[in-house]
């Protein structure tokens, strides 16, 4: 398909949707129109684009994905992904499913579509305002096409008692289809909350999830965001997380990436007020021919903020991994304290990872450190375990677990931590002795 034809499919669909969008407020229609133009002007990125050098999205661009139809799922299908002790909102194929959700509440959880219909101007100052100052075309595509999503609003001074879980599930029925779910989190001043987002879907279906999450933290807000990517094994997953932090606000994103054939995630955070803290932790586990790409960009736009980044990758088979971490320290952002670490473990000689730290520092009184290591399992450690009677495969599994587990160990949402631990353990060979050692 030619480049024009690739975008033409989306233009035709966009035009088809005009009628159904008559009820949308003018500001939203303008936002969509501008996003559509941006997408058409640029087209899908190619590996000639610096930010996409190691990730070809040709497999996405060449498929004329149909818009995902309203899907039906039973509770059994969702069960492995749901979280006890959390308030949940469930979206299937990008649309809210009320029967599995608990909306409303003092810490308000809503369907984006329903909220826009009910209070058309309420989201005007936030929606679409925070995907980075040069968002990629996928974020633009999402703006042009999102049908629904989740909105979490934490009132000023409020401490959310339960974590909120936004569960996105794709059924992958019918011809290859795409959904563009959008999540918006607004944490008002001095509020505290934890929001978990899970993306999951059916195996064997080549569906495409193109998600955007926008997070706003007002002064003194604390928000812990968790990202769990457990898409189906043939899925394409592209997502963008944008976070903006007010004065003394604390934001964290803890992510685990396990599923999908092709994964690309951009995390863009901006310090808009002094004294902010940002923590980005991530683990990706890739096997077979999975391709997983994480790009992060932390914008130290103002002084006296600190950021901590730890990303770990475990790659087996012929998997490919990409980590690209930009730390931008602007001219006036004195006393910035930034640290970035990327560690990758290659379990196979055919797995590859590209790790690129990018520090752009324009201030002169800052503390910035970065480190990147990629290696195999330590042979001495494998032998040490074997010399105690633990089989070779189990020893390797145990050490892999030891490498990966500290990222998950930091998950403060207990049901999520427990669910991920048991899921990750189930993927380790020689379950018996390994489970003994890490229980």
């Amino acid at each position: 398909m030619s480049v024009a034809a690739e975008t033409d499919v989306y233009r035709a669909r966009y035009d088809d949707l005009r009628a159904s969008r008559r009820g949308e407020p003018a500001w939203l229609l303008a936002l969509r129109a501008e996003a559509m133009e941006r997408f058409e002007a640029r087209g899908f990125p190619t590996t000639r684009d610096e930010a996409w050098k190691y990730t070809s999205v040709a497999p996405i661009a060449r498929v004329p994905f149909a818009p995902a139809a309203r899907g039906r799922v039973d509770s059994q299908t969702l069960a492995p992904f749901r979280l006890r002790g959390c308030r949940e909102i469930v979206l299937v194929n990008g649309r809210h499913v009320p029967e599995f959700s608990t909306v409303g509440g003092a810490v308000e959880v809503s369907s984006l579509r329903e909220l826009l219909a009910r209070e058309p101007d309420r989201l005007r100052t936030h929606l679409g305002r925070n995907v980075g100052d040069d968002p990629n075309v996928f974020a633009a595509l999402n703006a042009a096409f999102f049908e629904d999503g989740a909105v979490v609003a934490v009132p000023a001074g409020k401490v959310a008692q339960e974590p909120i879980h936004v569960l996105h599930f794709s059924t992958g029925d019918g011809p290859p289809s795409v959904s563009h779910p959008r999540t918006l989190v607004v944490a008002r001043a001095r509020s505290q909350a934890a929001v978990v987002e899970t993306w999951a879907g059916a195996d064997g279906a080549a569906y495409f999830t193109n998600a955007v999450t926008e997070v706003f933290l007002e002064d003194g807000a604390v928000l812990d965001h968790y990202t769990v990517q457990r898409e189906g094994d043939a899925a394409f997953h592209v997502s963008t997380l944008g976070a903006q932090q007010g004065r003394a606000a604390r934001f964290s994103d803890h992510s685990v990436t396990l599923g999908g054939a092709l994964h690309r995630r951009d995390v863009n955070t901006v310090f808009a007020g002094e004294g902010g803290e940002c923590v980005l932790n991530g683990l990706f586990v890739a096997g077979g021919r999975q391709h997983m790409d994480t790009h992060t960009r932390i914008d130290h736009a103002v002084p006296h903020c600190s950021s901590r980044e730890l990303y770990k990758g475990v790659l087996d088979g012929q998997a490919r991994g990409v980590f690209h971490g930009t730390i931008l320290v602007r001219k006036d952002a004195q006393k910035t304290d930034a640290m970035q670490t990327n560690k990758n473990l290659l379990l196979s000689t055919r797995a590859l990872v590209q790790s690129t730290p990018a520090l752009e520092i324009f201030a002169d009184d800052v503390k910035c450190k970065h480190g990147s290591t990629t290696g195999q399992l330590d042979a001495a450690a494998v032998f040490y375990l074997r010399s105690r009677g633990i089989g070779e495969e189990a020893a390797r599994a145990l050490l892999t677990w030891a490498f990966a587990s500290d990222v998950v160990a930091r998950f403060a949402v207990e049901p999520l931590r427990a669910a991920l631990v048991s899921f990750l353990q189930s993927r380790l060979p020689e379950a018996g002795p390994v489970h003994e050692a890490i229980a």
Binding site: F383, Y384, R386, S405
Partner: protein, 254 residues
Amino acid sequence: MSQTMLEIRDLHASVGLNEILRGVDLSVRAGEVHAVMGPNGSGKSTLAHVLAGRPGYTVTSGEVLYKGRDLLAMSPEERAREGVFLAFQYPVEIPGVSNVYFLKAAVNAVRKHRGQPELDAIDFLALVKEKSKVVDIDESLVKRPVNEGFSGGEKKRNEIFQMAILDPALAILDETDSGLDIDALKSVAAGVNQLRSPERSMVVVTHYQRLLDYIVPDFVHVLIDGRIAHSGGKELAHELEAKGYTWLEEAPAR
């Protein structure tokens, strides 16, 4: 006469292209403690690692019988399950895996191999309590990730603790004294001595006689240039302390 635990015959082994062991002969009977001494580079640690089955050490000729069976044909984990234990000179740190759970996995791997029922958490913790007294190891260390952030002394104590838990028939102690001050040395040696028994043999590899003041061996062997150059009783260690190794390096093997 007690049975033969370990029989090493004309053992040659290489690391890469370098032949390190050049014809080692050694016979250890049940209940005996043998010290293997020798200058740096004589092959002491290589011998210890070859017996434990470390990959990268190639046996080019000779044989090793353990309880009459071909030890060299076994994988490292099989050797461990059959009762061979190596206390490492440099114990490996394994962040993310707690000592106690690692050991439970190891104990149960060994028990399963021996056809014994696996220990449950309660039985295992009782065993930990009992054995931590033997080597005087702090129980908080037992719960921490394997060797992570342990001092040199704590690591060595942890090795002996593991040995107490795994209850081997043949223990090989590789430079267990290295990096220990005298108090730590005494306490580690006391742990080892508690584990001496008529059923258990030990091969104590050391550079210095100092350790042998506390773990008194039945036999002392001097390894020079990949061969046992001299063997004797415990008094040989003192002779070596006084005279060094040079007089043996010049003398032909007896």
